[in-house]
Symmetry: C2
């Protein structure tokens, strides 16, 4: 499958490398073509001018810092519908660095803003909880990738991409659950930067058949 | 320390039992005095009429289902200030059972509602993420109890109570972080009821000294 990656950072490189390894055709673009070329070289894939990244892509990964989301979506023509009909993976964390407070207004998700900026795109929140180092290490244990979105076909496409990179997809609902997933990232960030393993702050469910691990509701 | 427990369910019994074991003086009250007596007997502590539970307590645990929060706070005179100045531990999850969607309105936390219903009380969100079975099993590994609140002294009191029950307290901020903690509970509930171990869906931080486990912000 052809995957267009918007962004040139460590998550872009980690996922591009892993997806290329399983046979996907990856193109990377960024605001700086030099950085896109460097990221493509590091991943063993191709760089393309930003305006061409989405063109033939069957799925698009929006792998930029939150501050750059509006700019890069503008640059690829997303507001004019350039990503319409495509799965658009949103791994962004609109979070104050090291504190874990979300920057988006109360009740709103970063993913909602992404959806507004890319009308018609099938936004899927995913890949926002684990650090890029998780995906670049071949020895990482399988991670469950919690994700949400409104388009079933897009969720299937992204679910397959999660498996291709060694993860286990877990759809927790529609895009209305994105705020919850983003708050979890804020929680993870707050604990990690305080030197606390986030895993020690959530319960383990002893058996996949048991509901005994759930807190009372 | 004298601790008043409002509620007679499994979490009330688990925490009462553990706290009594470390020498605290526990009284339990509920809407039904018979159930309070049964819970007290199961915990090895004393039952008291609801109106007396908070009276001499140095801290109060609000251990009822979300639907019963307003009623029980009313019954102890919290709206009239009966809990003013006391640490009030809020472990409630205002969450649709098995789905993990929060019932409180967008951007609002259950803990904010508790604070409104108990003017002057020092509300501390805590003990809402791990199931009661965690605290009733002597063989449970140490859990980090993420908590938040606005009163430093109340956070210290609750932190000590977390340690007394075998947990590790982690204050992530003021009561304005309660919504985030409650969303994490929704996430945990959604995964657990789907048969997925919530721990596999959050990253492990390899070293307490490292920030390498945090996702990009």
């Amino acid at each position: 499958m052809r995957i267009g990656i918007l962004g040139t950072g460590t998550l872009a490189v980690a996922l591009a490398t892993g997806w290329a390894r399983t046979g996907h055709d990856i193109v990377i673009g960024g605001r700086s073509f030099e950085r896109a070329e460097a990221a493509a070289k590091a991943s063993g894939v191709r760089a393309r001018p930003l305006c061409e990244v989405a063109e033939h892509a069957a799925a698009v990964l929006l792998s930029v810092r939150w501050e750059g989301v509006a700019d890069i979506l503008q640059a690829v023509g997303a507001p004019a519908g350039a990503l319409a009909g495509k799965p658009l993976i949103d791994p962004t964390n609109a979070v104050d660095h090291g504190i874990g407070v979300l920057r988006t207004e109360s009740g709103r998700a970063a993913a909602h803003r992404v959806a507004e900026l890319a009308p018609g795109a099938h936004v899927v929140k995913a890949f926002h909880l684990f650090p890029s180092t998780h995906w670049s290490s071949l020895s990482s244990p399988a991670a469950v990738v919690a994700m949400c979105g409104d388009d079933r076909r897009a969720l299937e496409v992204v679910g397959a991409l999660v498996r291709d990179i060694g993860g286990v997809p877990a759809v927790i609902g529609g895009l209305d659950r994105a705020r919850q997933l983003e708050e979890v990232a804020g929680f993870v960030i707050a604990l990690a930067f305080a030197g606390i393993d986030p895993r020690s702050a959530v319960p383990a469910v002893p058996s996949p058949e048991s509901n005994g691990g759930a807190p009372q509701s």
